[in-house]
Symmetry: C2
Subunit: 152 residues, 2 copies
DNA sequence: TTAGCTGCAAATAGTTTGCAGTTTT
DNA sequence: AAAACTGCAAACTATTTGCAGCTAA
């Protein structure tokens, strides 16, 4: 993890600014999300953090993720074909690529869609809170004939 | 419903071309999807069709939807905040607007994103099968102070 | 004929929630 | 001190699946 988690870190300030009460569990979860581009699920976050934050419960991971999403600190990316929701703390407008074979979610910055949100907001009349922009297909690795199916 | 469902209808031909076996239940489900822009869920489809297709089962709706998605006839739009997946038979590249208040999914053709898919396909190396492009926010109706919260 | 579909009911699994105790503000 | 959070376990519910009978091809 590349993010400071001290009491005055950017991370904590962001949570306070968003009106989210700060607890050790929430810091752990939020900083884990910020420090990865793997778009984890609740369960994978729990399994990753559990050793370092003993007695962390899966329910708290779910509750915290919902809180972070509701307060706009994290985006919920939806199901990637594995039946569970993935999350992203990178709020920069960008596209995701979902592989229907290995169920990985990858960032894709090759197209700029920053202007689209503005156009949608203006023309639709919606008060926008977020976006979920994913293209679904088979990734190059899984396309190779020799590819072994990655562990789900 | 505005679509003919005779044995030689476009709809049936499309299913056959996609390699999907044709049954009365599947015709009912697929034509209902084609004839609406409401982006139904499995349950709402079931409730809508059940009176006209007695003994239709919810399991068949789920199975059929998966079959149609896998064969590329229908797009799965993911959860709209109501905890269940919504579906769309309109494969034209377009954006969806999801209201976090009333959980409605609406089409939005105000921005053209047809070129994005091509760029993604070329630059990412993915074999694209579909897309899920949604902006999330609060719709104008739900934004009105006098708005009553629509039935979920 | 036969592979594949259907309905039913049971199983699965992601996510939420009630509660009692603890922590943040 | 009040309001909100946590862990645990139980509850909830969308979705899947096993099976026996039916049907499209």
């Amino acid at each position: 993890m590349l993010v400071s988690t001290g009491p005055d870190s950017v991370l904590v300030r962001r949570m306070r600014d968003a009106g989210v009460r700060v607890t050790p569990q929430r810091i752990a979860i939020y900083s884990a999300l910020i420090g990865t581009d793997a778009h984890p699920t609740a369960k994978s976050l729990y399994e990753h953090l559990s050793p370092g934050v003993p007695s962390l419960s899966l329910a708290t991971v779910y509750n915290t993720l919902r809180t972070l999403v509701v307060h706009g600190l994290v985006h919920e990316l939806g199901d990637a074909g594995d039946g569970c929701a993935h999350y992203d703390a990178d709020l920069t407008p960008h596209v995701h690529l979902i592989c229907t074979c290995c169920h990985q979610v990858r960032d894709f910055f090759g197209v700029s869609i920053g202007g689209v949100a503005a156009a949608v907001a203006e023309e639709s009349g919606y008060r926008l809170q977020g976006a979920r922009l994913a293209y679904i297909g088979i990734c190059p690795q899984c396309s190779e004939p020799t590819a072994r199916r990655p562990v789900v």
